[in-house]
Symmetry: C2
Subunit: 372 residues, 2 copies
């Protein structure tokens, strides 16, 4: 499985994997793909610095990248304390009541409350870029909208290309026009922030709109080698994956139950492809999440409208922390794509990568047999 991107990035396979886990990112890189470490969870730049040092020591000199979240428009800047004041009391009451209804206990008195994800504030995302550029990263991706021009210039000056996610051909052209090098065409079926247009339609549309002026990675619905073959048949030069590596054996984030897998992994292993919803309740923008008693509570009559970004995530961050610790896989908040229906066992990254390659080979050989 070779495309032009393999040579450009010095990778064996054009498989780009977004993951919040440095263990998974490093394993992807070692297995011949490009591990892309998600930075949004690092509220403190020092924490990111430590983790990137670990990446440098555990990737055998092979290429890796980072993923930041810098929305095109952010209504509010400041610290968590400032922003906190903008959250309506009725929303807080709804969250408290919902957690009580779901049987989620409060945090222990001695545990610090999560201040929420601040990584999508421009100030924090810029600190991620600063830190990352001190490391031998090969790509910076922006997971939400077109990155600011000065950030693109800063990254380019360091000799690093920039990727950005797009949910439509219009977004893709906007990215390209401001200097983005690689467009990730992310279909409706993807986990996290996602648009309306499904991969089957979106990928060739973005490929044709860009017409070779930027490389295209296909994202959304990809978990097997057959799906990689489909994405490349549609014209993409590589794939961008995320969900399928959340049940990798190396993934060590999240509170674990007695089984050794995390509570959220247990929930994902049990889910079918029908068990996701696309809602604004995680961040304030539409994101595909695992369906759970928590998402259902927000769908029920009388539930408030989600707040705009970044308020919504600050509103629910302690709730996410409490649900995580409650160890009940039916009440979780987790972004994941429709491919969750195929995530039915915990497998090492190397096994997932090996299937992607062999499945691609098998699918393309099958297609050969069909070509008269």
């Amino acid at each position: 499985m070779k495309t032009e991107l393999c040579q450009r990035f010095g990778i064996e396979y054009p498989i780009f994997v977004f993951t919040p886990s440095e263990k998974v990112a490093a394993a992807v890189t070692r297995a011949g793909g490009l591990g892309m470490l998600g930075c949004v969870r690092f509220n403190q730049a020092d924490d990111l610095e430590r983790v990137l040092q670990w990446m440098d020591e555990n990737t055998d000199g092979k290429p890796y990248g980072v993923d930041i979240v810098m929305p095109a428009k952010v209504p509010t800047e400041g610290t968590a304390v400032d922003i906190d004041k903008l959250i309506p009391k009725t929303h807080r009451e709804f969250v408290d009541k919902t957690l009580a209804d779901l049987g989620v206990p409060p945090l222990p008195d001695d545990e610090a409350k999560s201040e929420g994800v601040l990584g999508w504030l421009h100030s924090v995302a810029r600190s991620h870029v600063e830190v990352a550029l001190k490391h031998p990263i090969k790509l910076i991706a922006n997971a939400l909208g077109t990155p600011p021009k000065d950030v693109i210039d800063q990254v380019h000056e360091a000799g690093v290309p920039v990727a950005a996610l797009a949910g439509s051909a219009k977004h893709a052209l906007r990215h390209r026009d401001i200097g983005v090098d690689i467009v990730i065409a992310q279909g409706h079926e993807a986990g996290g922030h996602t648009g309306e247009i499904a991969s089957m339609v979106l990928v060739p549309e973005v490929v044709d709109a860009l017409d070779g002026t930027a490389a295209v990675l296909a994202a959304g619905g990809i978990g097997t080698g057959r799906q990689v073959a489909a994405a490349l048949a549609l014209g993409a030069q590589g794939v961008w994956m995320g969900s399928a590596f959340l049940t990798a054996a190396e993934y060590d984030l999240g509170v674990r139950g007695s089984s050794g897998v995390s509570v959220i992994q247990e929930a994902m292993l049990a889910a079918t492809s029908s068990d996701t919803v696309r809602r604004k309740i995680y961040t304030g923008k539409p994101a595909r999440l695992l369906k759970s008693r928590w998402t259902e509570a927000w769908d029920a009559e009388g539930a408030p409208e989600p707040l705009p970004m970044p308020l919504q995530n600050i509103l629910v961050s302690e709730a996410h922390q409490r649900m995580n610790e409650a160890k009940d896989p039916t009440a979780v908040a987790m972004p994941v794509g429709q491919i969750v229906g195929r995530m039915n066992e915990i497998r090492p990254v190397a096994d997932i990568m090996a299937e992607l390659v062999s499945g691609f080979d098998e699918a393309t050989r099958r297609l050969d047999g069909m070509r008269g």
Copy 2:
């Protein structure tokens, strides 16, 4: 482009095309695919009989099929007049006010009002089956749910296989278990009645669930040869298309403007892949439609909830007729998939078919070059 289905059906390409137009269905068949005539518009069995006679005379002895709509559950049977009484006055008032707001004139006094689509009543769909089986049809497809067992038996006794649309692996297995021969895995991006799961995830899931016990056609988002290659890479043995042939030159349904294309074709030619919505307003079940001022009116605050099938279509049938005759492409009611973004010119069926084949060849050759 050869799969096992080519031999089974005596067709050149495994391309199955659903269309309400006999002109398009016959042209698809003549071009080497399998034209599938949609029967739902025939309220009178005699009209269908006449059209199938025309098909017999215009398909050069090549195979064709028919598509009926027989929902698994129908709450109401009877004539249009009986059913009419079940529609609330507030719904009628909303439709009248909306048409006035949109500037849609009433029908001329001398024109008969449409009585709505009755083809999805079991009594009417059964009459379609009766009529169709008197012709040399090669396939009957049911567009909505699992057909009743006795209908499947009746069709099988005539030596004709049965296909049915499925939006999930669970539906696919239910079809197979009752005797359906071919499952059409229809993704979220498809036009008309459609589920939540996108083609990229749905197709391999259905293929794996059926595990060879029934053939699978991929539907949803397919309009070019690259997309055919993607669908076959995902494991399908053929494709089922509909939307992409609504702008075929042979398509002669609908009121025409001075340009020679129908008003609805004009609207589709102008639309992008972002210009569809999935709503219950056409039939009472979620169906993907072209976004228009009509669909927006039903999204506005104060709009009523759509009625259950079959009441909703009876409620809006005269509105559809009035909008059609008003010749305003911004106020239309038309089921179409996200592939509408690529339907940008009127082309003969033979040209569409030729691109599907050459695009498939090109995509699979490109994949060959990627396989190390």
